[in-house]
Symmetry: C2
Subunit: 364 residues, 2 copies
């Protein structure tokens, strides 16, 4: 087995999920994640943890949902009990076909998700981590050959997380102490309040309230958004391409929008509910191992020097008083500050033209 | 998808497991059983059952067990709860390498199995069914090409089970009414009592106390075994080849044994515990779709015109008064009566030279 797969498993089990002897661990294995699953099983055996593997087959799910009517049982007992008694859930993503669910009617999928809310909550109450094994289908979506894509995934994932966590702690400190954010760039001049909000140092570990491997971002939950922003990183949202989305805010809510491509998708998202017109997240990517866009939000939003904004639900960890934005959606859109643009806290630049205040070459 | 895979799924879900809307179904998917799993998922969706897929990866299990020490946690809660709340468990076997566990120390495996007794019991308390998808590894073990092996598996599995159940009911009736069994053949003259025992019409359905697909056997739990028997069907037992095993019984227990090959395996089995020297099962194969040996007990023991005897544990369903033989093992060995030999109940032949009493050509 390739050495890096075992390193990936070790980072996942030790740094990310903090697995210890006796932990009850669910390993959720996508169709294409088999090799990583074997390495994870070995790591769990070495640490004396318990292992139960579930099969995250996109083809099984597609076949099941396509054949079902929309009347799903609410939170089947057996699955709810499984997650309520689990300590950790390790989700090993690894699509063999990223379009596998394209034929499932949206309302079917939504009915299924709605019926499983308690199961999802139980899973989110565990020390869960999502990570991704590099597959050919994901390489294809990124427009890369499989060797180059493997390099990309492991560059992003096999980092010195302890040292990155220390660096990110500086940004978290600035955000926790600050109250006003200003984001400036081409087609962008946006102000937000982060008063009384808490930033999360998302260092790819449950010990940091972080549930993605790779991670490498600091995020918070802004309010009172005013101005306009251009989200220039192209991405696939709900299966459709979005390019250069533009949003205008007044009193914290979107009052106008446009896009070079995919404006209709943005419109649909905004119409979901009241909360979908407000921001749930401001995130700042700090993972320098991610140096280009692969149309995969797990990676794209962590790219060092980018900033993302999410329409919709805020994360509880950012909102100590529980007043966070509520919505059925959470859709991330990204603006690239690597070449130009800046993010300032209380009037002082923190990120400018791709460099953070504490980095060489910062010129703010 | 090949039509027969969908037919297999339909037989499994409807005839074997009797799945209904709202049932909580665990589908256990071996590495090589993916295509059958997709068909089963579709069938479960159509019937409105709930689906949770577990991943039965032999490679994950091998990696986990090899890395673990022998101190396993007893019956981890999360897995026990899963099975205690499940209605049905569909085990989709489909090895990609039948030797995958060959490097795992036997004591490791035994320690793991011992620590999981309550989980196993909970799973056996569901309406469980084991079936098998035809893989290249299983074809190789059978010494067949994959096309021929697929024909073999579907010939054995896609039967008119209702009609076979009716035929088997005749044999069950004879065994339930009878009290003395005599088995005669080359190197075989064995008598057994089946007084007060109940025969199981194993018609590949939970409605018949039958948990294998394919099945097609009638079995009971004999006592007071006397005489000798030659088990001439070659097979792999605990990873080692056994040929022409010979057992001699007195007062119901084995007093002597031999084999052309693998006598040591037989010796080890007999030494497991007191119950391992006594018979736990007499089974009579009645599946005419199985017409040759493939070194796979799921199929071999059901071959029409063969008889198998198991050393060790008796099935509860055969023993109304609960006095069945107890043992940690249950090892099936097969004698072939298709060419010659006979099985008699209370002095009257029931099976002779491969024909049952009610069949054309029976000459008893």
């Amino acid at each position: 087995m390739e050495q890096r797969i075992q390193e990936h498993a070790a980072v996942l089990v030790d740094w990310s999920a903090r697995i210890e002897a006796g932990d009850d661990v669910v390993v959720h294995v996508d169709e294409g994640a088999h090799d990583l699953a074997v390495a994870v099983a070995e790591a769990l055996g070495e640490r004396g943890a318990n292992l139960l593997a579930t099969y995250g087959s996109a083809e099984m799910t597609r076949a099941y949902l396509s054949a079902h009517d929309d009347a799903f049982d609410e939170n089947p007992d057996y699955e709810r009990h499984l997650y309520e008694h689990a300590d950790s859930v390790l989700v090993l993503e690894g699509a063999r076909n990223t379009a596998e669910s394209s034929g499932v009617p949206g309302q079917r999928r939504q009915a299924y998700d709605r019926a499983r809310r308690a199961i999802r909550e139980a899973r989110l109450d565990t020390d869960w981590i999502s990570t991704q094994h590099p597959t050919r289908a994901m390489a294809q979506q990124a427009g890369m050959d499989i060797d180059a894509y493997r390099e990309f995934v492991y560059d992003a994932t096999l980092r010195d997380w302890e040292s990155l966590a220390e660096e990110m702690a500086q940004l978290k400190g600035l955000l926790d102490a600050g109250s006003a954010i200003r984001l400036v760039g081409e087609g962008t001049d946006l102000t937000m309040s982060i008063e009384d909000r808490r930033a999360v140092n998302s260092a790819a570990s449950v010990a940091y309230d972080s549930h993605n491997l790779p991670s490498g971002e600091v995020f918070t939950a802004p309010t009172a958004t005013e101005g306009e922003v251009t989200l220039d990183v192209p991405m696939t949202v709900n299966g459709r391409r979005v390019q250069n989305a533009w949003l205008a805010f007044e009193d914290g809510a979107v009052v106008d929008y446009d896009a070079d491509r995919g404006a209709a998708v943005i419109g649909e998202i905004l119409d979901t509910d009241d909360g979908a017109r407000r921001l749930g997240e401001l995130g700042i990517g700090m993972n320098r191992g991610i140096d280009h866009i692969t149309d995969n939000i797990l990676f794209d939003e962590k790219m060092g020097g980018t900033v993302h904004l999410a329409l919709g639900r805020a994360y509880d960890a950012c909102v100590p008083d529980g007043s966070g934005n509520d919505s059925a959606v959470h859709v991330d859109l990204i603006t690239d500050l690597r070449e130009s643009g800046r993010l300032a806290v209380d009037g002082e630049s923190v990120l400018e033209a791709g460099r953070f205040r504490w980095e060489d070459g910062f010129n703010g």
